[in-house]
């Protein structure tokens, strides 16, 4: 299975070399949790503030149990704001 991982703002440094537009394709095994993928790329848990799967926010308490499926887009930000 493949998902798209997007790491934005200051988390871009955790993307592999050659990643474009803050995104990379990731092979995952069936049953892999959202948090396992974040950990695989060494993103500190406390910096994974805004976590979206297909644009929908996932609470911090649900990230260990949330299983990703083929084609999902996982996007992660540190705390950000604007206006």
């Amino acid at each position: 299975m493949r998902i798209t991982l997007k790491l934005y703002a200051g988390l871009g440094e955790f993307l592999p070399p050659g990643a474009r537009d803050n995104a990379t394709e990731v092979e995952i095994v069936a049953g892999a949790s959202l948090q396992e993928i974040i950990d695989r790329f060494h993103v500190p848990r406390e910096r994974a503030h805004l976590v979206l799967v297909n644009g929908v926010y996932v609470n911090r308490s649900e990230r260990d149990a949330r299983v990703l499926t083929d084609g999902d887009v996982l996007a992660v930000w540190p705390p950000v704001a604007g206006g």
Partner: protein
């Protein structure tokens, strides 16, 4: 007490300049800046007056903390009646001129009447004079700024100025200060130009005194600065990536208004984002972003200073734009970018430079261009209207041409200067105007962020994100995360944000501090500086009073609850992609509850009980 306790009154018709004491009874109720100037405006003008006539007044106003050592305490506002909306207008800006005005010893400058010939106000501490501006009338903000600086040979002079767009009647013209900060929204620059007032040039050397308890103030300020520094948003995210870090966030959640809000996601967002501004260009290897920048006293420094590739079509033969200047904020990047379908970062930066150079609100400008592009796609606007330009979605060339002609008030640019509402009405398609009360939407599609629909519908200055930024909660989780796709609880959320923001806008502080500060952080700073016992609770009550007073102005101006609505596109055309796919904005589920908790009747008019509780006139302003 931080207030200078002095108001300057400039009668442009007669040329008389006078000084009078600040009304401290009103200051106790409305604090300063947005609130206090709105009180003055409601007392001094007929809300039904012609916004561009001599009976309107324009108030340049600071808050009690403006010019002090508090973080971000450089804000000022321009309060007047808007020619774009007919509502009360209050446009807030940073930079340095607010602090300079306070340091010169003035809380407020009230401009009234209309000068017989173009003038600018030269103010140095207690001395003020109106100076002929014939030589700079008809020139850009940047030219006029440089001319005035040269005239007085004073690089430390701070200048607020209107450009050619304002002079030519563009209804969303801004007042630009310090070259690339602006009181941007609602056409306050148009009002200033209508009075033949080209600029306000200020030099202040007196400092800010009257701090009630200087020891307590320094302690409160230091504590506040530490909170900002330790917060990941205000200490790291905003200085590094600026507000345009939101480009990818809002696109991902499916609330990115695209191509005149026909769509809610933009395929080119990553190419015009805050992250993209850091990426080296393929052409010259340099990033768009040169550095961040801070306004007076700011310890956040979210401002962007950018360059354009010198080989880019926009400036290859215009060396005057080869240097670094004010770069893209999120709102400008959205309006000039996704709403026009343009993903050329250099082109957006150029259009942004032009908006700064000639004083145009990039939100209203971009949104108006987007509406024109949709009508061009329909064949309603043709090349005959544009003088041969293909005004197509996605055309960077068309966008930059539109910026040039609107800035200078030439040809079709005069029509674009009407704003989206009037332009769409003129061409027979009012339904294509993405506006509330005549003011263009900012960068959050209310189908994907439901609370923003209520925010826009009820904003006292027409569609605006800065009147109640529920995005903070609905998307970013500040102060708590709420679901952007539900309406439950949003009436309460919007009211809370509206009241708090009205209070912050009346202090002299920047609203961006509230990504880290709560009212419990702000109130001690106000209370240490000002008499009056400013607790967090009193601040919020003051915010509510201000909100209701603005509402009273609008009601007296003839704007009613019927105007608290959204374009049909938001209410009837469902989002096509993203998490909000299939959803419209359910305003009808939020508005009645909002009226109820505001203490307003079903007609959206404050009840007399509410008026009494807030110390407002029974029966409204008209009574």
């Amino acid at each position: 007490m931080a207030w200078a306790k002095k108001v300057m009154r400039v009668n442009l018709t007669t040329g008389r300049i006078g000084s009078e004491p600040l009304n401290m009874d009103w200051a106790m109720q409305y604090l300063g800046q947005r609130g206090l100037a709105t009180k003055y405006l409601t007392e001094e003008i007929d809300p039904k007056c012609d916004a561009l006539g001599p009976d309107n007044k324009l108030i340049m106003t600071t808050g009690p903390l403006t010019g002090t050592m508090a973080s971000t305490a450089g804000r000022y506002s321009i309060v007047t009646k808007s020619p774009l909306t007919g509502c009360v207008a209050c446009s807030n800006s940073g930079g340095f001129i607010g602090a300079e005005m306070k340091t010169a010893g003035w809380d407020m400058i009230i401009f009234e009447g209309k000068a017989p010939k173009p003038v600018f106000l030269h103010l140095e501490n207690e001395t003020a004079e109106l100076v002929p501006a014939d030589e700079i009338w008809g020139t850009s903000c940047w030219h006029a700024d440089e001319w005035i600086h040269r005239k007085y040979q004073d690089p430390l002079m701070r200048i607020a100025v209107v450009g050619r767009s304002a002079e030519k009647g563009c209804l969303y013209a801004a007042v630009v200060n310090d070259l690339h900060r602006a009181a941007g929204r609602s056409g306050v620059g148009t009002v200033m130009a209508s009075k033949n007032l080209k600029a306000v040039a200020i030099r202040g050397t007196r400092g800010v005194g009257n701090v009630r308890d200087i020891t307590a103030f320094m302690a409160a300020v230091q504590k506040g600065k530490k909170v900002l520094a330790d917060n990941a948003v205000t200490g790291q995210g905003l200085p590094r990536f600026g507000t345009n870090v939101l480009m990818n966030v809002i696109n991902e959640v499916g609330a990115m208004p695209t191509r005149n809000m026909r769509e809610v996601q933009f395929e080119g967002s990553s190419r015009i984002s805050g992250e993209a501004m850091h990426e080296p260009r393929e052409s010259d290897g340099k990033p768009n972003l040169v550095t961040n920048a801070g306004c007076f006293g700011c310890t956040i420094a979210c401002g962007r200073i950018s360059t354009i590739d010198r080989g880019h079509f926009t400036i290859s033969n215009k060396p005057q734009y080869w240097g670094a200047s004010g770069g893209l904020e999120y709102e400008a990047a959205w309006a000039l970018g996704s709403d026009a379908g343009v993903d050329d970062l250099d082109a957006l930066t150029y259009a942004n430079f032009i908006c700064n150079e000639d004083g145009m609100d990039p939100i209203s400008f971009g949104s108006t261009v987007a509406a024109a592009m949709e009508m061009f796609a329909m064949g309603v606007i043709t090349k005959q209207h544009t003088g041969g330009v293909e005004l197509k979605f996605g055309s960077a060339e068309a966008l930059c041409w539109a910026a040039d002609v609107t800035a200078r008030g030439e040809g079709f640019g005069l029509e674009l200067g009407l704003g989206s509402k009037r332009l769409c009405e003129k061409y027979g398609h009012p339904e294509l105007s993405m506006t509330v009360k005549g003011q263009e939407f900012p960068a959050y599609d209310p189908r994907g962020i439901q609370g923003m629909g209520l925010t826009y519908a009820t904003s006292n200055r027409g569609a605006c994100h800065l009147r109640s930024y529920t995005v903070a909660s609905e998307v970013m989780g500040v102060p708590v995360k709420t679901d952007p796709l539900v309406t439950e609880g949003k009436a309460e959320l919007v009211k809370a944000f509206q009241d708090a923001t009205a209070a912050v806008d009346s202090t002299g502080l920047c609203v961006f501090t509230t990504f880290a500060w709560t009212m419990e952080d702000i109130a001690p700073q106000i209370d240490a500086a000002c008499a009056g016992g400013w607790t967090a609770q009193k601040m919020l009550e003051t915010g509510e009073r201000i909100w209701n007073l603005e509402r009273e102005f609008n009601l007296a101006a003839g704007i009613s609850g019927k105007d608290d609505t959204l374009p049909d596109r938001m209410l009837k055309e469902a989002a096509k992609t993203g998490p909000a796919k299939g959803k419209v904005n359910n305003l009808h589920e939020m508005l009645p509850k909002y009226y109820e908790i505001r203490g307003w009747g079903r007609d959206g008019i404050p009840t007399n009980e509410t008026r009494k509780r807030l110390g407002l006139k029974s029966g409204g302003l008209a009574a």
